[in-house]
């Protein structure tokens, strides 16, 4: 099933033609209407007429979060404020939020793009979709909400929080599709357990999860516990919100809506393109946004391009799961580690839960000490024999150190003792006072 088959299955040559046309008119507009970009063209002594291929975009510098901050709140808008019908903000994972605006056309196009992802994830107009993402300045809730309405599904704007009420709504309204963060999906499963509710009694069929990195093992757990088919999706407020990329039911990478976003993957340090398939920072250029176009925006998100066609028939390129953020990266005794790498290992170890927290400290000799608190799967492990515990701890420590080249201390903690988030989970506590 496709929401927009003509574009989603377009042959590459036609698609690249569409991208080039849209890139050229976007560059014409930003050069004329946005002082930052106009200055950049002037400084480089080039003008938008010089861009004749998609690769030419690399002649322009990146746009960074700092550029956005320096132009807070409206400096990068390409239309006067009176043409803006919606204002949202980045969720502010790091630092001061960014204000993003949408024209009427932007809002409509955005809805069409989230509708594509919903359909790719299995949702149809017959579904009852519970959107348990925050409604407000954060783009997640309203972004998916409009997509559901555009698709014609019945949408429940549950927003985030109030987990017992979420479960009640899910049960009483016979929700068939759930949209939230993956950690919140697991939290809802826990709440159902506490309430003594068997998820098989629910009507759930599909789930679209995003807004934070997760893993395939976490997907399996969500699918088993909530009895639904879970797909991953990716969005970023500075670029649009949800609707940038999402998985189809092949669950083998996220299709980027390439007719609206130009994708590059670059080395976060040098800014050079990485070799095909290598992990790097995702850089996006909007091709159709009117109010808030961004050129070569460094998302700070790490992923890689996947090779080969997808069995679903979509011709849009796929990116791998987001494995973390360039600014999530922690450095332990000089070695770079992403929390998602720790998570992937925990999910692989029997008896450990994917709920964890990394504590970073400095010891008396000023060396980094990294500790991972890991929830045990059952009470029995924590209260059980010391040797069982020791064995499991050693197993996790060995794997962490052999795969990540960093020595972590591992501490087992009781099930559900690590605070659950209702938004993005706090995976790292850094007490090093850096």
């Amino acid at each position: 099933m496709y929401f927009d088959p003509e574009y989603e299955r377009m042959d590459r040559a036609t698609l690249e033609g569409v991208q080039l046309e849209r890139l050229q008119s976007t560059l014409n507009r930003v050069a004329r209407n946005v002082p930052l970009y106009r200055r950049r063209f002037e400084d480089l002594g080039i003008d938008p007429d010089d861009f004749r291929s998609l690769d030419d975009v690399r002649r322009l510098p990146f746009t960074s979060k700092t550029d956005l901050r320096e132009n807070y709140p409206y400096g990068l808008f390409a239309v006067p404020l009176r043409e803006v019908v919606r204002l949202q903000a980045s969720s502010g994972t790091t630092g001061k939020p960014t204000v993003v605006g949408y024209t009427r056309n932007d809002v409509r196009r955005w809805a069409g793009l989230t509708a594509r992802l919903l359909v790719a994830g299995g949702v149809t107009r017959d579904d009852v979709v519970q959107v348990a993402l925050n409604y407000g300045l954060f783009t997640g809730g309203l972004g998916f909400h409009y997509g559901c309405e555009t698709l014609g599904a019945s949408v429940i704007p549950a927003s985030s929080g109030g987990s017992k009420r979420q479960v009640m709504v899910m049960q009483d309204y016979r929700t068939t599709a759930l949209v939230c963060t993956p950690s919140y999906a697991l939290h809802l499963a826990d709440v159902m357990d506490e309430m003594g509710l068997n998820p098989t009694a629910l009507s759930l069929r599909f789930g679209l999860f995003g807004a934070e990195p997760w893993t395939d093992a976490m997907r399996r757990e969500i699918e088993e516990r909530l009895h639904l088919s879970a797909t991953d999706n990716y969005g970023i407020s500075e670029v649009m919100g949800p609707g940038v990329a999402g998985e189809c039911l092949e669950k083998n990478g996220l299709h980027v809506n390439e007719d609206h976003f130009l994708v590059e993957i670059v080395d976060p340090a040098s800014g050079d393109p990485v070799a095909p398939g290598e992990v790097g920072e995702l850089v996006l250029t909007t091709l159709t946004k009117e109010a808030f176009p961004v050129i070569r925006y460094r998302t700070g998100d790490l992923t890689r391009l996947l090779d080969g066609p997808c069995a679903c028939g979509r011709t849009f390129c796929r990116i791998g799961r987001l494995i973390g953020r360039t600014d999530d990266m922690i450095t332990v005794r000089g070695i770079n580690v992403f929390p998602s790498q720790v998570e992937a290992i925990l999910l692989d170890v029997e008896g450990a839960e994917p709920h964890y927290q990394i504590i970073l400290e400095r010891d008396a000799s000023h060396l980094d000490v990294a500790t991972v608190l890991v929830e045990a799967e059952e009470e029995a492990i924590v209260s059980g024999s010391i040797s069982t515990q020791q064995e499991m701890i050693r197993k996790i420590e060995r794997r962490l150190s052999s795969e990540l080249s960093v020595s972590f201390k591992v501490r087992l903690v009781e099930p559900r003792s690590i605070p659950r988030s209702e938004g993005k989970a706090q995976r790292v506590v850094d007490r090093r006072g850096l």
Partner: protein
Amino acid sequence: MLRLRNVDVLYGKVPALIRVSLHVRPGEIVALVGGNGAGKTTTLLAASGLVRPKDGEITFEGRDVSRLSPDRIVAAGLSHVPEGRLVWKPLPVEDNLRLGAFLRSGDAAGVARDLDEVYGLFPILAERRRQPAGTLSGGEQQMLAIGRALMARPRMLLLDEPSMGLAPAVTREIFSLIVRLRRERGLTVLLVEQNARMALRIADRGYVLETGRVILQGPADELLENRDVQRAYLGRDADAGDSPSH
């Protein structure tokens, strides 16, 4: 179906088109809008081989046509209905139509059949088949110009300012005919119009040209909503009349 990529056209030393990229997919109606001298007509002339681009690619159904002669382009299935209609005024209507089939000299039966079909589409032309084309009204001459282009059995039409000099009611008739040609014959259309609103209403997508460059493009309904387009080409003053609270 038709694709222009980075097309530059110079008239002498004056650039008429700068890096124009656009495409038309099979069965689409695409409108090219913009002010006088924006490069709309030049774009059509380049596609039909009447002016040569200095640089860039033009393909029709995947085939490079940028160096083909105009008659070879017509034979490939791309016909041009020029601005101002340019019918042969002293000649009878039917002879004008037959001129459109000049490449099909060996196919008398086919030409006769197509002539009947054109008369079916435009009954008024059948009534006036013996009259000199110069005695037709403006709207009838436009129909004749389109009919003449159809006589070459095109799969795609390039239509230059079909509404020029026509009364609004006649313009509406011509436009509904364009929609009908697409629906009934699967004809693909690239339409150049000063009357941007009307063109965008029947088009699937549109491109806005300004000083030889594509400055905006997108679905026609989005362009109709776009305030830059409204201000510049739709004659609506977007700054007046709204937001009484200001």
